[in-house]
Each structure stands twice: as C-alpha cells, then as structure tokens.
Symmetry: C2
C-alpha cells in the first residue's frame, strides 16, 4: 500500500530549468538577471547576519512597508513569501480544495498545473490563439467553475502582454484572478497595482518576485499584493517564519534602491532589442517581448537540435514544447508547438549566443 496521497503518487513533479553548478556556461535558460544586485543589498545582508540566532519578524513589517510605499498601498495588502513560487503554493492551499478547478492560459507557465495536481485540483488549460491572444468569449465561458485563474503578464514563454481590459474581463465570476507579474518590471509601462485599486480589484491578487528584475533569484523572495481580507487568509496558511532574516533585510534594501534595479532593467531592454533584431536576421520569428527573454521559432530548423547544438557549445537556452496547444492544428484537435526561450543576458553573453547560432 502506498503511503503517498494518490494525487502525489501519480504526479511526475515539475522539472525546473537546468542549473549547472560548475562555471563556464553562458546561462540563458532560466530568465535570471545577468547583472549583480544593488550594493545596498549586500550591506543589508552583512548587517542582518549578525543576529541569525534569533527568529525573523513573522510579519516581515519593514519589508512590507517598503513595498507598500513603492506601490502606494497599505502594508496590510502585502504578503511576503519564499519567491513567488511560495506565493503560488499558498494561493492553492488557501483557496483551492480537492476537486475544485483552477485554470491557466496555454501555452504558459506549466508550474500552475503541477501545483494544482499537488492540491488534487482539476486543472483547465484555456487555449490561446496562435498569436498568443485570448479567445475571450470562449475563455469566459470556461470560467464559471474556476476558483483561481493564473495569468502571467507578460506571459512566458511568449514574452507578450495582455491589456488591462482583457485581464479585467477574465476575473472568474466565482473566484480570483491571479496576476503573475514575475516579469512585470520589464514591461515598457510596468503595472503599478492600479488594477488592485479598480472595481474588480478585490477579486485580483498580484504576485511579484525579486528574482528577476532585482537580480535576486538566489535569495527566494516574492510577495502577493491583494485585498487585506484575502491576504489575512493566506497569512493563516503560511508558516510563521516563512521568510528568513537575510532575505527580508536584502529585499527591503533592494526595493528601496529603485535606481539600481532600473539601471539593470534599462540595460536588459536595450539588449533585448538587439537580440530580437539579430535573431530575426538569422531567420527566426521573434515575438516582440515585454519580458527579459524572447520566444524564438524557426520556420524550418528543428528547435531541439538548435538547443542541443548551443548546449554542446556551453550556451544554455530553454527548449520548450507544448503538446496539444493551438499551433497548426484545429481548435478541436490542436497540435503542439515548440520553440526556444532565450533569456536576455549581457551583451557579451548574447554575442556568444549569436556566434554559435550562426555556426548552427
């Protein structure tokens, strides 16, 4: 007799992007920021390291205050967690019972599906149009029984953005819209939590991470922003000390040093433009990206072999395939799509990528 819950027994588990532990790689596969974080962050870590024998503040008050000031919202609207991964997990555990339904657009971030499986939820993929837009009437027809609809904006792997109008139309009538803004700071016009202050705002929770724009993937810090009543429920579910003292100190310093984040963001946006042009010249189709990565497809070269050739040259990008997506199939029998997701690294990293790609 298996001791595991049946939903855990049958699931495969999520496979994160490769994380080679040795150096020498041009690593463009997990959307990390290639630039170091603010020096103020390192100072904050050094200061906090002196009192590690004591528990952290279970309410993360100074960090929440810094985030609240940044977005002009009350700290009661903020729940910090171990990366936005933990925010997503807490959302599932707070709002979704076994057998209940979650949904997400497809192709998109398949981790939502894994988290749904762990919670023994029904998972609905809402198929996107081939140009990554929503088929809104069909999507809305699917939302009646949805407790949580997860929408990454910008989307991964496409890097595309949906409009506020689309998002507001997608708030489930009996549930919540989870707006995953992991890549939000790389938009031309970042969202400043205005949607939370709109009419349907009490039915929206925004998730954010410091992994990408603040160059802190190694630190594991993210947060949810939403109506205080929703946040209070999530707080009951989180571990008392879910965020450690170093992360909270570092996170506060990072949030308070907007100029460091914005300087790195500016560099990445410039390189993104250069990468997009260069890939297009090499014959790739590249969707205009609002994130720190681009989604590239090639009309006649197999994507997997491009990925493998790059890898054999120590350049790591992400090959992604989405079975049963829209692609070239019909709505009733959709075919799969695949392609290459390439993180926007430094100019030097992108030079190296392009040199190897030209050889391919």
């Amino acid at each position: 007799m298996s001791l595991f819950r049946p939903c855990v027994e049958r699931m495969k588990g999520y496979t994160p992007g490769e994380q080679p532990q040795e150096s020498g790689w041009v690593k463009l596969n997990t959307n990390e920021n290639p630039y170091p974080t603010s020096p103020a962050v390192l100072q904050a870590i050094e200061r906090a390291a002196g009192r590690l024998n004591i528990y952290p503040d279970p309410l993360s008050t100074p960090f929440r205050k810094a985030v609240g000031e940044l977005f002009g919202i009350n700290p009661e609207w903020i729940l910090p967690a171990n990366g936005s991964d933990e925010v997503l997990t807490l959302l599932m555990r707070t709002f979704v019972g076994p057998g209940e339904t979650i949904a997400y657009p497809y192709p998109s971030y398949v981790l939502y599906e894994t988290l749904g499986e762990i919670q023994d939820a029904q998972v609905k993929r809402i198929l996107l149009n081939p140009d990554w837009s929503w088929d809104l009437p069909r999507a809305k027809a699917e939302l009646a029984d949805v407790k949580l609809l997860f929408v990454p904006n910008p989307n991964s792997p496409s890097g595309t953005l949906w409009s506020d109008e689309d998002l507001l139309a997608l708030v489930p009538p009996n549930g919540l819209l989870i707006l995953d803004e992991a890549y939000g700071d790389f938009r031309d016009q970042p969202h400043r939590m205005e949607l939370l202050k709109s009419g349907p705002g009490s039915r929206i929770i925004v998730t954010r991470t410091l992994s990408k724009s603040y160059s802190l993937a190694g630190l594991r810090l993210g947060f949810a922003a939403g109506h205080p009543e929703l946040i209070a429920g999530m707080r009951k579910v989180k571990d008392s000390y879910n965020c450690d003292m170093l992360s909270l100190a570092a996170g506060e310093a990072a949030i308070r040093d907007q100029s460091a984040m914005l300087a790195n963001r500016g560099r990445i946006l410039q390189t993104r433009q250069r990468l997009t042009v260069a890939l297009t010249k090499l014959g790739f189709n590249v969707f205009p990206s609002q994130a720190n990565f681009v989604w590239a497809t090639h009309p006649d070269r197999p994507h997997r072999s491009i990925y493998e050739f790059l890898k054999s040259n120590r350049v790591l990008i992400r090959y992604m395939s989405f079975p049963h997506a829209v692609g070239t199939g019909t709505q009733s029998a959709p075919a799969g799509i695949d392609g290459l997701r390439i993180t926007v690294g430094t100019d030097e990293q992108i030079d190296r990528l392009l040199v190897v790609l030209e050889k391919a």
Copy 2:
C-alpha cells in the same frame, strides 16, 4: 460566498511566540540559542552573496552531502527545507489527504494541529500521562487509522525524552512516525539516526532544524531524513527552489563546524542545570530537561501572573496552557494544565530572570 477553503475559513491560525523587534528584552520565550553561530557560517554567507542573481541548486547537493556525512547516511535520505516548519508542512501535503487522520501526543507542539487543519485532516490528540510518559496500550489502540504520528523528542513544553523502545512501539501500522528532533542536539546522548537504520526505519522520518543547536533561527533551514522513496515523494511536492543560496551555504558551513555547535551546546547544558536547581529552590517543580528549555510549574502561584510580572520587567518567557490535558482531571474528563516554558539563555540572562523571579 467565502472564497476560502472551509477548513481555512474556520481555522484560527497558529500564534508563534512573541518576537519583539526592539532591543532591551531578556528573550527566553522561543527557545533560541543565545550564542552566535560559527564564524565559518558568516564567511560562507559573504561568499555566497556575490552570486545571488542566479537560482540556487534545486537539489541542495553540498548541504545534503554534509548532513549525510555527519550521520553516516546517503544524501538521497535528506530533504532540506525552510526550517523544520516547512518539513512538517511538506509531510502533510505529501502524505495526508483531506479527512485522513494525523495524531500527536498532548500536551505537545500544537503547530501539528494547525498544519492538520490547513490540510483538512482529522487531528487526534493522544493524551500523555501526568508524568509525560505514554500510556502505550491506549496510544497503540488509537493508531490504526493514523497516517502520520508526530512525536517531538525531546518533547516541548516538558523537555522530556521518550525511549527508543517507546518510539518504535508507536510506529503507526498504516502510516509513518514523524520524529521531530528540533531539540535533539541538547539530549545527553543525541540520536544519530540509528532508528532510521532499524527494522521499522523505513516507516520513520526524522525532522531536524538548524534553528536551535546551530544558532540559526533567523536563517530558516531544516531537513527531513528518511527512506529515499519517501524523500523522493516529498521532493515532488516541494517548490523547486525552496531553500535559498545563503541558507544552503550557511547550513553547510554550520554542519561542517561541529565544534562550534558543541561548544554552545555545552554552555547551554551547564546553564540548564543551574537554572533547574535555582527554580527548584524558588519552589517550582521542574522536570529534568533534555532540551534547551525547562518546563516549570508552581504549586500555588498562578503561572500567568508570574509570566506577566516577568514581562513587565522586560523578561520574556512563555506561558502555556493546554486545555483538556491530563493534569488533575480524570482520563474521561481531563482538566487543563498550564505552566511556564523558559528557554535556557546565557548565564547573564538567567541571572536577570532569577532576580526578577525572586521579587515576584
């Protein structure tokens, strides 16, 4: 209509010990180690802080290796997590479905009950004898439907220890024994994972934290040790990057510097002895403790008012009450018990405590 899961809606949430954020307190309420961690830990944090823009190793390989070497077990037997709190949460999410039963001895660590509520589990309190021993025949009769039995050893708040024989007798016939060794390093003879290597070892999972003996409560790092098949299932449920880069580097350094941990442990054991004698002289009943705290009761002074008097003098200890425990009641209508749990601080902190207690 509430959007929360009914089990979350109706639960109260766990209240951790007070964590005053201002200085000036003698803090003896949450079993923190009063001594600083190893200098090697601070060096490891400084080194790791230089590459925070990259994700941590999702498998935490060097940390697992260090733990494996310490206990003479394969790293495949180890699952690191954000404090043993997260280990406990992962155990629930991996093994306990809604409506299934968990159990724990009572009075003990009531967080198990909160975690059970979040998972919508049935929670069974197995009443201990008034001397904190198990009523083994009765306990065993209650275990048939138990998926997870959580047993802290040493127990909190009593600081008492149960024998290996008792523990082996308590492995649920259709579930797992979770041996919570948060305070295990403070035992006269610490458990070296021998129980995992015993016959019923494949039905036991040990949880450990670096919060207490390694002076790293602020870091949030703990781990599960158990049969690789059980650990592999838990790995599917954890977030990919549940442990951050700084914690893993610090934890590895801490585990590899046993002499620093053992020196602090030695000091705490000496002070524990002194505290026990002094409290007894003041008229308290103190159980011989094998942890870094003592449980003190007084025959005729109300415990809550002692706690409050100490608090008004900036000495923080923990007042704990357990309704429906054994105490002075009968087994069928048990009364509550209450008392004072006092962390073993430095000698100076204990001096201050005793001065104020004498005034009380």
